[in-house]
Symmetry: C2
Subunit: 351 residues, 2 copies
């Protein structure tokens, strides 16, 4: 298969982790006889520094004309601590999601047996946990109108959702549940928010009409944040809106033992995007300590997206092997750890 | 001291837990020679059933004319699963918070040594954790304009904040930090939300001007949800907006080993309100299995609010004793457990 892959390293540790994924994908292409072409483009703070724009037109064009996007990470503390900055790195990622129509962010979370003792949670609570979070990605408070009053005394963010926006991601979540534990948990705050009530109503109707065989239940987001730690094994597919999904999925990373392992796929229209759920981790940039596995597993999701399941499996097996052999960055292997590129080299070598 | 205490049992397990708090407060009044007068009023689903209104005027009047409010819990599944209900129990609590001007919800969280093994988190991660969450309570997306389009196809919730709203709770948080670890962590999503950027700017300015001796740092809410589990000991005072505070504080309950232990005070104007952070837990109502301790510790906060520190301490000591002796409801003591009222009796007896 021939695949044109746009590579957007972004900020912080983005470049060094994405480099490992390209290495591993190249090994996969070699072994399985595919043609993967990689083209790089800037995004985020890196793009602001270079071109004054967190998502330059050329970057967006490249993504639109590619088969898939491999995304690193975005964000830089110099913008975080300047609340009045008009141009910010994150706008690059948000605009990209919107422009590519990536309305569903899919975040699988599971406890790796070999890492179970690394988690801050007790082994018996997480052993066997295996869920996937469907986070709505192009709506809600992220994209509603924002404003600050002229005198700077008040600010606002609007959260909106439409039935169409809810239905399209809900369908993906229910379809996924069919191939898994046949259970969907909608996380919302329907006792307070009008948008959450629209979610509850829309999802309930859809479930009754189109997915009667799937178990649907509901959790308020505050309770969900607690249940995620108390009893993560109760979850199969979690469906939720943009902001709640952002919070709950980062929280869920503690189950896997490190956020450096969590992959994600953002899908919706033709071109899908694959990115780790961790951020740009600027304190670690350039030190060779960042875990490339989340990005590499995101690359496996990229392959699965094209039906290249054996290929994806070769990556997943390689990762399992690296964990079993403790060929891991310091977030996982505190003592005798390997650098970002050494882990990449190992994974490349066992593909 | 003479205190008029409005008692609002509310829904679900509310009545049975509040009853224990009244018992314990009465014992305190006896022992320390105070006059506590209790007057009950309906709120929430109970008030809707009776009067069609989740916050009847008489209830609000009683609260305004009392020295303090002891609040049970609110919420009923028959409304949760009916997204189109116009009148809902939660409106009672939200309106009460607004009318009484309770802009700050104070939620202490700590790991009890005796319960450390009950937590889903490993002991070494939580031993010594001791934080207090200051959650803004009368602004943000809870109280902004809500709407649904005529055709029912879209819904929206507006999140707004003003400098004044942010400053007044921030001051309380910084004042609290002075008497504790001298550190405030602002939890926001300033890389995406305009309101969060106003929080960051306002809090930074305030800290520089009025609280230079306090350490101020920032965490994005997604990262905070993760850090709360990875390393809760890093937190001293957490300051955050309404929705994020709702989520983060329920999540933090896992540190204490049971949400049935977490007390809270809502303050702002003359009359303060004291309530457990847990909800109405309708599945448990009437079964005698609800943990009354969160409400009883909230009663201790009530006493502290009037400078009755020795009195409050007698409650806290009693609770510690009950935990040490395992005189606990089944959320804590799985085997040989005591009922809600038996725990109340024990605490009353050792005051
Ligand atoms: C960088 C930020 C805008 C982004 C988000 O909040 O969506 C990130 O946290 C994520 O989860 O992908
Ligand atoms: C019952 C509900 C409206 C309430 C809230 O979200 O504020 C509750 O969860 C709480 O935390 O006090």
């Amino acid at each position: 298969m021939k695949l044109n892959i746009a590579v957007l390293p972004g900020d912080g540790i983005g470049p060094e982790i994405v480099q490992q994924s390209v290495k591993v994908l190249t090994a996969v292409a070699d072994r399985f006889d595919h043609d993967f072409y990689f083209e790089e483009a800037v995004v985020g703070a890196a793009a602001i520094d270079l071109l004054g724009n967190p998502l330059p037109d050329a970057t967006l064009e490249l993504c639109k004309n590619s088969d898939a996007v491999l995304f690193g990470a975005i964000g830089d503390p110099k913008y975080d601590n300047d609340p009045s900055a008009k141009v910010r790195p994150e706008q690059g990622l948000l605009k990209l999601r919107k422009e590519l129509g990536l309305f569903a962010n899919i975040r699988p979370v599971k406890a790796y047996d070999a890492l179970i003792d690394r988690s801050p949670l007790k082994a018996e609570n997480i052993k066997g946990a295996d869920m996937v979070i469907f986070r709505e990605l192009t709506g809600g408070i992220y994209f509603g109108e924002k404003s600050t009053s002229k005198d700077g005394q008040t600010a606002s963010d609007l959260c909106t959702y439409s039935v169409t926006e809810i239905e399209r991601i809900a369908r993906l979540a229910f379809e996924a549940a069919k191939t898994r534990g046949k259970k969907v948990t909608l996380v919302d705050k329907a006792n307070v928010l009008e948008t959450s009530r629209l979610w509850r109503k829309t999802v309930t109707t859809l479930a009754e009409k189109e997915f009667p065989e799937i178990d649907l239940d509901f959790l308020f987001v505050d309770n969900a944040a607690m249940q995620m730690i108390l009893n993560p094994k109760q979850f199969d597919v979690i469906l939720t809106e943009n902001m709640f999904g952002d919070i709950i999925s980062d929280e869920a990373s503690v189950i896997g033992g490190s956020i450096g392992l969590l992959e994600s796929a953002s899908v919706g229209a033709e071109v899908a995007l694959f990115e780790p759920i961790h951020g740009s981790y600027p304190q670690a940039a350039g030190k060779g300590i960042a875990n490339p596995v989340a990005s590499i597993l995101s690359a496996a999701m990229l392959l699965e997206n094209f039906g290249l399941n054996a290929e994806a499996l070769s990556i997943r097996k390689a990762v399992e092997m690296s964990i079993a052999l403790n060929v891991c960055t310091p977030d996982i292997n505190k003592d005798n750890h390997y650098s970002t590129s050494k882990v990449g080299d190992f994974l490349e070598s066992v593909i």
